[in-house]
Symmetry: C2
Subunit: 218 residues, 2 copies
Amino acid sequence: MKLYSYFRSSASYRVRIALNLKGLPYETVPVHLLKDGGQQFAPDYLKLNPDGVIPALIDDMQDQAAVLTQSLAIIEYLEETHPAPPLLPQDPVDRAYLRSIALTIACEIHPLNNLRVLRYLVRELKVGEDDKNAWYRHWCEHGLASVETLLARDKRTGMFCYGNTSTLADCFLVPQIANAQRMQCNLSGMPTIMRINDACLALDAFADAMPSRQPDAE
Amino acid sequence: MKLYSYFRSSASYRVRIALNLKGLPYETVPVHLLKDGGQQFAPDYLKLNPDGVIPALIDDMQDQAAVLTQSLAIIEYLEETHPAPPLLPQDPVDRAYLRSIALTIACEIHPLNNLRVLRYLVRELKVGEDDKNAWYRHWCEHGLASVETLLARDKRTGMFCYGNTSTLADCFLVPQIANAQRMQCNLSGMPTIMRINDACLALDAFADAMPSRQPDAE
């Protein structure tokens, strides 16, 4: 498999964790979001993903090499095609619960802090550096506080988001916390997610997926 | 089942379509996003969903009444617990493809045009009405253009996003087009998605889920 990835992209980071948890080898194809006016807008990449976002995964084990986009869709695909070890439990209510944690991060936090959105704020709306950073931190802190509330009160929470095995939800949580830390968000009232983050990063599958360990890291 | 819904919320609209396509009866519990400072922030609702967003679905057919949040997680749950008629095909590549269309809408368009985001633009960043509307249209038009490109070129596209049966992707597309039309986005270069939208709305499952037909419609 080939993963079109940028070391710092948290959506790519989610997929890297899932591939590692599944023990699936893959080749990284770096897509630099800042160089050459954004390599995600290069015609060849736009053929793969007309939306011009990363990651994209090519699974060349399929009859026709399949191009997959959107991190959650990619991870659900990996779960369906390589069920062991599972990233989702069997119970439908629990599956929905873990997907809702992933989606709170994927829909309520990350889209607002995307490079292209921050650029629009600066270029089109003339938002200054401080206001841009406050915007970033606002959505990140608000969303992660919701996840903290959910996890802190739920009996299913264990060493990880769900018991003592890492799941889909952990694949989304850890990269978002990395973003939050890089942007100096205030995570002081969030002991549950920080504890889970530490437990995850003690595993090779998570640690090897960190931005700093990628071939395109700067 | 009980659906916490606001007539105009496109995330609620997605779930209403899925419930209708599955033939599942449900009771609407209106959550008015504008009244009372936003009923989604009422303490009782925040107990259901600490993130303060709609929809939420309560499935009282489960042993312990399950509270489900995030529209995609809810629809995947409905698919798993009520498989017929299916909203996703069997092939994993095709499932990933349809999920990626849903996620392009759920992650790349809708979060940027949410009420709370538009409010932040106006209240915190002092963005004027014209710039706010341009922001809305920018993300909506850009994202829908990507979906148009995907669907226009793909052999799997039929009367609907995937062949001639409605799927998960249609549940996401139709509500987003409703938003786009309400905000007078330019959809003139998007004949494929507009054709699919018309085909969907000719079905009762979609038409009955429209904002104007909801009990809380204004």
